[in-house]
C-alpha cells in the first residue's frame, strides 16, 4: 500500500480559507497583546499593580469612564488603568478573532483562538482577584500566564498569516530530521518559559522570603542562559543543514538574535537594579555607578528584558507549532 504523501497534508493545512480580514484582525490582536504585555511589565517595574484599590471599577468608575484628569493625574494610576483598558480591548478582540475562526473549517485555529479567549479571561480574573485580595501568588500566576496568552496569539497570527505566503514544501524533510527539529524547538520553548517563570518569581518576591531562594533563582537563570546559548550554538554549528531548514531559517535567526538581546538586557537590568555583583564590585571591573530607583534606565531596561524574554518564548512556540504542523 502506498504511504500517504505528507506534503499533500501539509499543503492542506496551510491552504486555509482564512480571509485577509481575519488575518489582519489576528495581527491587530497580536499588536494589542504586545502592548498589553508591555504595559503589564511596566506596571510591575513601577510597582503600580495595586494603585487602583477597586475592581472591576476604577475609583468607582466603570471601564472607559474614568475622567481623563484622574487618568493622567499620577503616572502609576495611568499605567494601571491603561493596562486594564488594553486588557478589555484585547479580550474583546480575542472574542472576535475566535468567532471569525469558528466560521472556518480549521480545527487548530478554532481551538487556539478559543484557548486565547480562555487565557485572556483567566488573566482578567487573576488581575482582578489580585486587586481584591492583595495576594502576591495571584500576580505571580498572572505574570506566568501572560506570556502563554501572548505566545498563543503569536502562533495564531503566524499560522493564520501563512496562507498568504506558503512555505517551500516541495521537498519535505525526512521524518528523523523533522523530529530532531521538533525536539530542539520544544526544548528551547520550555527553557524560555522556565526563564519567564523564574523572572516572575523575582519580580513578585514576597518580602518575607528567605534570602537564599532569590539567589537560587538567579543562578537557575544563569544556567538556563548557558544551556540556551549552547543549544542555539549547537543548532548553528552542528545540526545538519536539513534540520536547520526544518526549523526555519527565519525562526533560527530570530531566536539567536532574541537570545543575545535577552542576555545583554538581563545583565544590564541586573546592573540598573542591583549594581554590579559583589564579585565584580571588588575586582577590576569596578565602575562608579549609583542605582537610581524608578529611573528611566531601570524602567526601560527591566521592562525590555522581560518583554524580549516573552518574545523569545513566543518565537520558539511558533517554531514548535510549525514543526508540528509539518509533521
Amino acid at each position: 500500500m502506498k504511504a500517504p504523501d505528507s506534503s499533500i497534508n501539509v499543503q492542506k493545512t496551510f491552504s486555509l480559507p482564512v480571509t485577509n480580514w481575519t488575518c489582519r484582525l489576528v495581527w491587530t490582536l497580536w499588536g494589542v497583546a504586545l502592548v498589553l504585555m508591555a504595559l503589564g511589565h511596566t506596571v510591575t517595574t513601577y510597582g503600580a499593580g495595586m494603585v487602583i484599590p477597586d475592581w472591576p471599577t476604577t475609583y468607582g468608575h466603570l471601564p472607559f469612564l474614568l475622567p481623563p484628569k484622574e487618568w493622567f493625574e499620577h503616572w502609576d494610576i495611568f499605567l494601571a488603568y491603561s493596562h486594564r483598558l488594553v486588557a478589555i480591548i484585547s479580550g474583546l478582540l480575542s472574542l472576535v478573532v475566535a468567532a471569525a475562526f469558528w466560521r472556518t473549517r480549521q480545527n487548530l485555529h478554532k481551538w487556539l483562538a478559543t484557548a486565547a479567549v480562555f487565557l485572556v479571561c483567566l488573566q482578567v480574573a487573576l488581575g482582578g482577584l489580585r486587586v481584591l485580595t492583595g495576594d502576591l501568588l495571584l500576580v505571580t500566576i498572572h505574570a506566568c500566564t501572560g506570556p502563554v496568552y501572548f505566545g498563543l496569539v503569536t502562533v495564531l497570527a503566524v499560522i493564520a498569516g501563512s496562507h498568504r505566503k506558503r512555505p517551500s514544501l516541495d521537498e519535505p524533510s525526512p521524518v528523523k530530521t523533522r523530529k530532531r527539529a521538533s525536539v530542539v524547538s520544544i526544548f528551547v520553548a520550555s527553557l524560555a518559559y522556565l526563564q519567564l517563570v523564574l523572572i516572575a518569581q523575582l519580580r513578585h518576591v514576597s518580602p518575607q522570603l528567605i534570602p537564599t531562594a532569590p539567589l537560587v533563582i538567579v543562578w537557575a537563570q544563569v544556567i538556563i542562559w548557558g544551556i540556551l546559548g549552547a543549544v542555539i550554538l549547537g543548532i548553528c554549528l552542528f545540526l545538519p543543514g536539513s534540520c536547520r531548514a526544518a526549523l526555519g531559517r527565519m525562526g533560527l535567526w530570530l531566536i539567536s538574535g532574541l537570545y543575545m538581546v535577552n542576555v545583554l538586557l538581563g545583565i544590564l537590568a541586573w546592573i540598573v537594579n542591583f549594581n554590579l555583583p559583589p564579585r565584580f564590585a571588588h575586582g577590576v571591573l569596578t565602575v562608579e555607578y549609583t542605582v537610581v530607583q524608578a529611573g528611566a534606565a531601570q524602567a526601560v531596561l527591566t521592562t525590555a528584558f522581560v518583554l524580549v524574554t516573552s518574545l523569545l518564548f513566543a518565537t520558539s512556540l511558533v517554531l514548535v507549532v510549525s514543526n508540528w504542523l509539518r509533521e
Partner: protein, 384 residues
C-alpha cells in the same frame, strides 16, 4: 466541551482563592546569634506582645506614648503597597525597601545575598554614614541624604526621583524600625540574659527601654552644636591644594592616623589588616574555622568580610564630595573598624580638623577627584 471548560474555570478560580489566604507579613523575632530552641514560647510571647503593644504590626504601626515620630508619615510608609480610595499612596517601605532590608528592617530581605556589603540591619540603631559624633544616632538629614544620593558602588539606590514627602516618610519609618529593633534588643537582654521575671512591667519597659531609645534619637536634633559636625573646607588655591595633598601624604603614613594599616601604603585597600568585620558580622566570627561554621547556623546571613576602600577606584559609599570624605575621617564609619580621627565631646581627636582636611585632599587626589581649587565655603556652620 462547554461544560468541561466551565468546570475548568471554576476549579481554577477556587484553587486560586484557596491559595490566596496567605497571612499578612509579621515582624520577625530577633534571634540573631542565639539558638532559637533556647527561647521558650512564654519568653517569645512576652517580647512580641510588648513590642506589638508599643509599635503595632507591619500593617498597622503605632507610636509609643512620648516618642516623637509622626504616626501619619509612618502609617503611609507602612502596610501593603498601593493607594487608598482618596489616591493617597501607602506601603512606601514595602515598595522600595523591604525586598532588601526585610519587613522587620533586619537587613535580611529576600535580595540581601545579592549585595556586599549586606543591606543595613536597622535594629542595632547603628548607621554607617552620619554627620554625628561617635555613639550618636544619625540626624534626619543624614538619612535623607543617603536616600537621595544612594550609595555608589552598592545596591543601595538613589531615590532622588521620589518627592521630598515620600523620602521624609521613608526616613520616619526607618527610624521607627530602628527604635523598635533597639527596644527588642533591650527586651531580649532583659528576658533572656538577665532572666527577668515574666510578665514584664510595661511601664518600666516604656521608661527604661522605649523612651531611652527615643531620647538617644532626639539628642542630635535637639543639640546639633554638640553632636553634629559641620565641615568647613578651607579656601585654597591650586598651589594651596597641592601643598595640602603633600601634607596629607605624610599624615597618611603617620603613626597617629594609621591609614596604611588597612588601606595599604598606596591606598589600594591592601593593608596588613585584612581580616576585618563590621559590628553586624563580628559576632559571626569564631576563633577557629569550625567555630565560625557552627556560629553560622545562628544567623540569617553568612559572615561577610569588610574590604577597606581602594581609593584609586574612586568609589566612596558615603559620597565623594570633600565634605563627605572629611566626615568619614573625622567621625569614622560607625559599626566598622574605620575609627574616628577627629575630636568628640570629652575625647581629644588624633588629628586636628586642618590635618583631616589635608588627609581628605590626599585621598581625593588618589581617587582622581581633587577639585582644582576651593573658592567658597558651602557650609555656614561653625568649625568643629
Amino acid at each position: 466541551m462547554g461544560r468541561h471548560l466551565f468546570l475548568s474555570v471554576i476549579i481554577a478560580v477556587l484553587g486560586i482563592l484557596i491559595c490566596s489566604c496567605s497571612p499578612p507579613p509579621q515582624f520577625r523575632l530577633n534571634s540573631e546569634g542565639r539558638d532559637p530552641a533556647t527561647i521558650s514560647p512564654a519568653q517569645r510571647e512576652a517580647i512580641s506582645s510588648l513590642l506589638t503593644d508599643f509599635f503595632g504590626t507591619p500593617d498597622q504601626p503605632t507610636v509609643p506614648r512620648g516618642v516623637t515620630l509622626s504616626l501619619d508619615d509612618i502609617t503611609k510608609a507602612a502596610g501593603p503597597v498601593g493607594r487608598d480610595l482618596r489616591k493617597v499612596e501607602r506601603g512606601l517601605y514595602r515598595k522600595y525597601c523591604a525586598a532588601c532590608h526585610g519587613i522587620t528592617g533586619d537587613g535580611a530581605g529576600p535580595f540581601a545575598l545579592f549585595f556586599d556589603p549586606y543591606p543595613r540591619d536597622f535594629r542595632k540603631g547603628v548607621f554607617k554614614y552620619t554627620s554625628t559624633v561617635l555613639g550618636a544616632k544619625p540626624t534626619t538629614e543624614d538619612l535623607e541624604k543617603i536616600l537621595r544620593n544612594g550609595m555608589p558602588g552598592t545596591g543601595m539606590p538613589s531615590y532622588k526621583l521620589l518627592p521630598d514627602r515620600d523620602i521624609r516618610r521613608l526616613v520616619e519609618y526607618v527610624k521607627y524600625l530602628s527604635m523598635r529593633g533597639e527596644t527588642e534588643l533591650y527586651l531580649l537582654r532583659l528576658v533572656l540574659d538577665e532572666n527577668e521575671l515574666l510578665p514584664l512591667n510595661k511601664q518600666s519597659v516604656l521608661e527604661d527601654g522605649v523612651l531611652a531609645v527615643a531620647e538617644s534619637w532626639q539628642l542630635p536634633q535637639s543639640d546639633p552644636d554638640a553632636w553634629v559636625v559641620k565641615p568647613r573646607p578651607p579656601i585654597l588655591t591650586t598651589d594651596g591644594l597641592k601643598a595640602a595633598v603633600e601634607r596629607g601624604r605624610e599624615l597618611y603614613r603617620d603613626r597617629r592616623a594609621k591609614c596604611a594599616t588597612c588601606h595599604g601604603p598606596e591606598g589600594r585597600g591592601d593593608g596588613e589588616q585584612w581580616d576585618l568585620y563590621d559590628d553586624w558580622n563580628t559576632p559571626k566570627k569564631g576563633v577557629t574555622e569550625q567555630q565560625t561554621r557552627d556560629l553560622a547556623r545562628r544567623f540569617t546571613l553568612p559572615i561577610q568580610r569588610l574590604r577597606p576602600r581602594n581609593f584609586h577606584q574612586g568609589i566612596f559609599h558615603g559620597g565623594d564630595a570633600p565634605e563627605d570624605i572629611y566626615l568619614r575621617i573625622y567621625l569614622g564609619i560607625k559599626g566598622t573598624p574605620m575609627p574616628a580621627a577627629g575630636p568628640a565631646p570629652g575625647v581629644p581627636g588624633v588629628l586636628t580638623p586642618d590635618e583631616i582636611w589635608d588627609l581628605t585632599f590626599y585621598v581625593l587626589s588618589l581617587a582622581g577627584k581633587l577639585p582644582q581649587e576651593i573658592t567658597k565655603n558651602p557650609s555656614d556652620g561653625a568649625s568643629p
